[in-house]
């Protein structure tokens, strides 16, 4: 098996908690995690519902390899309808929470309705109960974590929690587990808080028995670990520099979006790079990076454990931040750094701590602050709105202030909590929002990496690098090198990455393994763990089915092919420096072929034929 075959259903309106069997027919079609939970969501909610209303549901879900010894087998996702984008949302997180949920005996937890007053769910193996959380409401993730631990007196519990930003309705609030791992994107934390659900606490001692073929599983897992260890990216680059290994690389290829994507190279990139995190600082001789840390079962260990310079202005009077905690990863460092023009690594690390402490997506926060800075430079936003703060590109003080007020939902922080799209609309300049379907861009400029333009435009949760990471091919040459400035041939590449990623996510593995693993490395691990025949071909078919299921959800939510586009800036204003100088995103060259490969109509609509081909619900 490897699924526990048990679903925990929690009705927050009535307070009832019940167990039901996992739908194994759906597991065969959608594998687990992202795919399987989306199948439940499609069945149980109206895609057009209010994402923050009681009719939306919120699912925490594991994959069949979550909680196994397969490297990176510890992922869980939060699946729901996004309040930021109106699309299906699936935000993936590592840490140890997902594996613990599995060890308690559950494949997924489905939350429905809304509690009358704040509650948290406590799971001890088979027993789950809703407990009052009035004393936790209004507290940050870090404070709530401490209070829950004091109450339960069990050091081995794992906690996933929302912070004050989510409670205040910030539309890109994250669910944070294990203090600094997060289901970060699309506002899944906002949905959790809208249900008056503060936290989920889990302790699992039952373990995971019943692997389909334990001996073969041990063998293929060992072989897979060796492939990761021998690969230069997963064996050396990621452990040493984390995903921050990319900062200088992406800047050099001219695809580092800078100052709200006005430019494509940042003069301060080296100051905020993975290499810079290793440099001893003047004040105490210690580097920003203390060590690398791993999520459950992960043999790559790209996680950063960092400290902030105690003499830095952001924390010099705040000893509570003189600790080690989750440090900068590439997307966060980019959004908080190059995109706001700030080259102060301690300011970035401080804001990253705040994002974990109060559960905010650092990509969306950084991008939204960047849009606000451009609005400020344009004179649309003034010190009147900011209470005197000069919200200028490059100002570390402004960035830290913006993060503080947004974390607590205070003053102008309320505006920043709207996200870039709604902020720019509110101030009458929608063209300054660097978003797709309302979600902020990550750290690769589609003018310099053409495939990413198509990947962003078509991603089912809005602009996202984790839905089709063609950077691997276009920049790193994995599995084979393609020209980043060339749009021809990218439609097929994007589709292949999108389908493969959907399958990897749904297995419960981390997408970073695919720097080294192909589906031929992954399928045998799923096959040895799970009943049934899980070949490479079947995994790819399942991945494509999942993609189309998500697409169909969006279509029923009213999202059309017209939403598969990019901001005019990326389509009309060419890159002004570097290898991509003079280039715009050639989205219109790629989109028709992509729709054709997907089996969609020319206007980007899902067709009955494609629905039937993948056995999607009618």
């Amino acid at each position: 098996m490897s699924w526990t075959r048990k679903v925990l259903r929690v009705n927050l309106s009535t307070g009832s908690v019940s167990e039901e069997p996992l739908n194994m027919q759906w597991a065969n079609e959608y594998l687990g995690q992202r795919g399987l939970a989306t199948r439940y969501l499609v069945d149980e909610i109206d895609p057009a519902c209010d994402a923050l209303g009681p009719d939306n549901k919120f699912i925490m879900t594991t994959g069949p390899l979550t909680g196994t010894s397969a490297s990176t087998g510890g992922r869980y996702s939060c699946v729901t309808k996004s309040p930021l984008t109106g699309t299906v949302a699936c935000s993936n997180s590592g840490g140890h929470f997902g594996a613990e949920l599995k060890f308690a005996g559950w494949d997924m937890v489905i939350f429905e309705g809304k509690a009358a007053s704040p509650v948290y769910l406590n799971i001890e193996d088979n027993v789950a109960s809703l407990l009052p959380a009035d004393d936790l409401w209004g507290k940050s993730v870090w404070e709530a974590d401490k209070l829950i631990r004091q109450k339960h007196q069990d050091p081995q519990i794992r906690i996933a929690c929302v912070g004050r930003s989510a409670e205040e309705g910030n539309l890109y609030a994250a669910v944070v587990n294990d203090l600094h791992r997060a289901a970060g994107r699309s506002g899944v934390g906002t949905v959790m808080a809208s249900k008056n659900l503060k936290a989920v606490v889990v302790r699992g001692t039952q373990g995971l028995a019943g692997l389909q073929d334990p001996k073969r599983f041990t063998e293929v897992v060992k072989a897979g670990k060796q492939v990761l260890a021998d690969n230069p990216v997963t064996g050396q680059g990621l452990p040493t520099y984390g995903t921050q290994v990319l900062m200088n690389v992406i800047n050099e290829v001219g695809a580092l979006p800078t100052r709200n994507m006005r430019e494509t190279q940042f003069e301060g990139a080296a100051e905020v790079s993975g290499e810079a995190m290793h440099e001893p600082r003047k004040s105490d001789g210690k580097p920003n990076l203390t060590t690398n840390g791993a999520c459950f079962s992960c043999t790559i260990a790209c996680g950063r454990i960092s400290t902030i310079d105690r003499t830095h202005f952001s924390v010099k009077d705040k000893p509570e931040y003189w600790i080690n905690s989750g440090g900068l990863e590439y997307e966060a460092a980019w959004a908080l750094g190059p995109d706001t023009g700030v080259d102060d690594i301690d300011a970035l690390t401080y804001v990253n701590f705040l994002c974990n402490e109060d559960g905010m997506d650092p990509i969306s926060l950084g991008s939204t602050v960047a849009a606000a800075m451009e609005l400020f430079e344009e004179g649309v936003i003034t010190t009147e709105q900011t209470g005197g703060m000069e919200l200028k590109f490059g100002s570390a003080e402004a960035l830290c202030w913006a993060a503080e007020v947004t974390a607590r939902g205070e003053g102008f922080g309320k505006d920043l909590g709207l996200g870039s799209k709604r902020l720019c609309e509110k101030y009458g300049r929608p063209e300054l929002s660097m978003t797709v379907k309302g979600q902020e861009f990550p750290a690769y400029d589609p003018r310099g990496i053409q495939g990413m333009g198509l990947a962003y435009a078509t991603a089912n949760r809005g602009a996202c690098h984790l839905r089709g990471y063609t950077v691997a091919s276009e920049i790193l040459g994995i599995p084979e090198k393609t020209d980043p400035l060339e749009s021809a041939g990218k439609a097929g590449l994007v589709k292949a990455f999108q389908d493969a990623t959907a399958a990897v996510d749904s297995a419960g593995l981390c997408v970073f393994t695919t720097f080294a693993w192909t589906m031929d490395d992954i399928a045998p691990q799923v096959d040895a763990a799970c009943e049934g025949d899980w070949s490479t071909e079947r995994m790819m078919e399942v991945g494509e089915r999942i993609w189309n299921l998500e697409k169909d959800f969006n279509q029923r939510a009213g999202i059309t092919g017209a939403d598969d586009t990019l901001p005019q800036r990326l389509l009309k204003e060419s890159a002004n420096s570097g290898p991509a100088q003079g280039k715009v995103s050639e989205l219109d060259q790629m989109l028709p072929e992509y729709y054709q490969l997907r089996g969609y109509s020319a206007d980007g609509s899902m067709t009955d034929e494609t629905r039937q081909r993948f056995g999607l619900p009618a």
Binding site: G207, L208, N324
Partner: protein
């Protein structure tokens, strides 16, 4: 040659591969809650420390056991629990100063590391060599080598 488990916390990333491997080997399932080796995360300090039985020569657990259920395995020096003798009195868990022998509620016996009979699964699974199984007479060899490498003998002068 007798071997010993050697732990270098500075290399540990907290991935828990040792706990999954230990529980697979000894419980037949992945279940970190039943692992004989545990990784501790000292979050604020940014440290991960794996910890398990060090197989004391004058083992407190072995001497404390009233029914002689804990015996020396002469082949690898481990102190092994004889399940059919153990009465689950837990006196050994009180005697052990390190907390590395524990009671298992599902079997009614105590469990501790037995070095997997001479081929410890945790060391095999560890991706960073934070846990190794090395010559018991020279567990410090790697540290010695590292310091030796830093010693200036003016060879380059």
């Amino acid at each position: 040659m007798q071997k010993s488990l050697h732990i270098d916390p500075g290399k540990c990333t907290g991935c828990n591969q040792c706990e999954t491997a230990c529980s697979m080997e000894n419980e037949g399932m992945v279940n970190p809650a039943k692992s004989r080796i545990k990784v501790f995360n000292f979050h604020d300090e940014g440290r991960f420390v794996p910890y398990t039985c060090t197989q004391c020569d004058e083992a407190w657990c072995m001497h404390a056991c009233p029914v002689d259920a804990i015996v020396l395995n002469p082949a690898n020096g481990s102190k092994d629990v004889l399940d059919d003798v153990c009465v689950g009195c837990k006196v050994c868990t009180i005697a052990c100063p390190f907390g590395t022998i524990n009671y298992n509620t599902s079997t009614g016996k105590v469990v501790k590391c037995d070095l997997c009979g001479g081929d410890p699964a945790c060391a095999d699974a560890c991706p960073t060599q934070a846990i190794t199984y090395v010559d018991a007479n020279a567990t410090g060899l790697d540290k010695m080598r590292a310091w030796a490498a830093k010693t200036d003998n003016a060879a380059g002068a």
